[in-house]
Point group: C2
Chain length 362, copies 2
């Protein structure tokens, strides 16, 4: 699980190009090892296994890291190649992430519904014994199963596509040689750390756009009432647009967190606080997506009022999860702020004590 | 607004009977001054004025205090008289509190709905522009107005009743002489403070039955999922029964807080933390009642799914308020705990610095 640079000998003498090559080579290797496994899994076992399948999750892990590194250290690579590679990796990410996403959403929503409608005397929920609960459950299950099946078919189809074979070839070439720019021979400290720090700075700027003051007090009601300001030009405002506009800056920060996280991994200076924020914002995104699913299901024609009522409660419950994740972010964020102070300052929450002092690139 | 004992000369030399008499005489006087005013308000202006009307709120204030004192210091009064008086005061309290209660519930629920469905770009809610919102609002408004009108008619009718006149006569007699037991001449320290402390101890015991560990973490989900244990003998469990069982110990603690608060006022040792807890548990109770109203409205025959969906969101929103109040209680409660340590310990959060040290009855 440890990334290559962590155990690589003497990174202090390594050049920018050497460090990036070593990292990308390792990730491309992981990609190529995971790909046939993932293809086998998707092909042989429909649906339910994908979420926990090691192949797909390893593949997604490598895809995310290669894409992030190509973005953050773009100045070090041949621009055309890096841009094309990122486009193809993003395509594969979107393709592969869908089915596990629907599975997780299904587990989240049905789990919430079961918990809300539990009628055991030792822990009933606010919908205990409600007539609408089984119907709402069946409706959500049906709609999410359908979406998941569609996503599965798409993956099955694309796994045999020329596009995927081309991407695999691209990764095979990457294992052999990383297309670096001429400046790749400069000492690592000159290029790598400033670019990684720029990723942290971008994250700091993104987080400044978040309404952290609203999330600072629990039960501020952000998730249900008083959403953020929505661009006025939007015209007639509906709840979907309002919620999407409210969530957008948080989703954006999640991407920035991931990029910063992968960049610091390349520099062999992983920041634990970034992993935590990534998890928190992952929960935020999944709850926000689940809330949309509940609201959409409530617009299904010919459902009963009881079903709709239960879906309203489930929708509110998921928006409460969104609010809870924002509150958690507000508690975690200050841990990271020292790391954003500048390129000269060592990050405060380092993991990997085995990195020798000589390897510090600041 | 200050209660009589606070400014009374030399309470250190006063006997139990003198202190109780002075307090009850002052409250009975307040009752008699407020009664005709309240009767005039209820008779002349229907409904909407009652909530803010000074007469009714002064009357309720006196009724609560007299009833609380008669309960806590029961040992000092003629038992038959005290019991009868409490019964009659409770009857008047239930009678008068209903209409303002419906008004507050209406303001709470319609305010929440307006906030949830606000479509302004600078603060939309999660139901912004939802088709069901105006219908749900009209439904709640109609049902609460009906309930309030009924309560108003009942008050109008009872204000002319022999029962109210008898209670007024009882209060007039109380201004003249408080029916004390023979022991009323003993020094105050011998009887008053132990009884007031017993009220604090009862509060402590009641609070120990609360699941404060569940309320300690924000977003623990108590309000929506994982309600408390419900007595198993209840048979088939529905959500109404589960929620009522979950709320009951909190409502009970609210009564204990009020009793302790009024008892400490008699001893001229008001505890500010009790006032805060009273307010917090008041919010808890009102949100719990409002949630029931939303759930009940959702069972109205022939409503549309969109209306039911909105009522589900409103129900969840109010249960979230319940959870928020419990969290606030968990933060406030430790402030009070030193006061519960025993009769010999002075309460930690005293107001009224003008009480001379000699008057401390411990």
């Amino acid at each position: 699980m440890t990334d290559a640079p962590m155990t690589a000998p003497g990174p202090s003498t390594a050049t920018t190009g050497e460090i990036l090559s070593r990292h990308l080579t390792a990730q491309a290797g992981a990609f190529l090892r995971a790909l046939p496994q993932a293809v086998g899994e998707v092909g042989s076992r429909p649906g339910a296994v994908l979420l926990t399948s090691a192949g797909t999750s390893d593949l997604l892990r490598a895809v995310r890291r290669i894409g992030g590194v190509l973005h953050t250290f773009a100045a070090s690579f041949e621009p055309g190649w890096a841009q094309e590679s990122r486009t193809e990796l993003r395509w594969l990410l979107n393709l592969l992430a869908q089915e596990p996403g629907y599975l997780r959403r299904s587990a989240r929503l049905l789990g919430a519904l079961d918990s809300l409608s539990a009628a055991e005397p030792d822990g009933p929920g606010m919908l205990a014994g409600h007539a609408g609960a089984p119907k709402a459950r069946a409706l959500l299950d049906r709609q999410l199963t359908l979406a998941r099946t569609r996503a599965h078919s798409t993956v099955l189809q694309e796994l045999r596509s020329a596009r995927l074979h081309a991407l695999a070839d691209r990764m095979t070439l990457l294992v052999g040689e990383v297309p670096l720019r001429a400046a790749g021979g400069s000492p690592a400290a000159d290029a790598l750390l400033p670019q990684a720090t720029a990723a942290l700075t971008a994250l700091g700027a993104g987080a400044q756009l978040l309404p952290l003051h609203r999330a600072a007090t629990p039960y501020g009601g952000d998730g249900l009432r008083r959403l953020g300001t929505v661009p006025a030009a939007r015209g007639v405002l509906d709840a979907d647009a309002a919620l999407a506009a409210d969530d957008a800056p948080w989703h954006r920060v999640r991407i920035l967190v991931k990029r910063a996280r992968y960049a610091m991994e390349v520099c062999a200076r992983p920041i634990l606080a970034l992993d935590e924020l990534d998890r928190t914002l992952g929960r935020h995104q999944e709850a926000a997506d689940a809330a949309v699913t509940a609201a959409t299901a409530a617009r299904t024609p010919r459902i009963t009022p009881a079903t709709a009522y239960v879906l309203g409660v489930v929708h509110a419950d998921q928006r409460l999860e969104v609010e809870s994740a924002r509150y958690a972010f507000g508690l975690q964020w200050p841990d990271l702020v020292p790391s954003l102070a500048g390129s000269g300052t060592p990050p405060s929450h380092q993991a990997g004590g085995e990195v020798p002092p000589a390897s510090r690139m600041a």
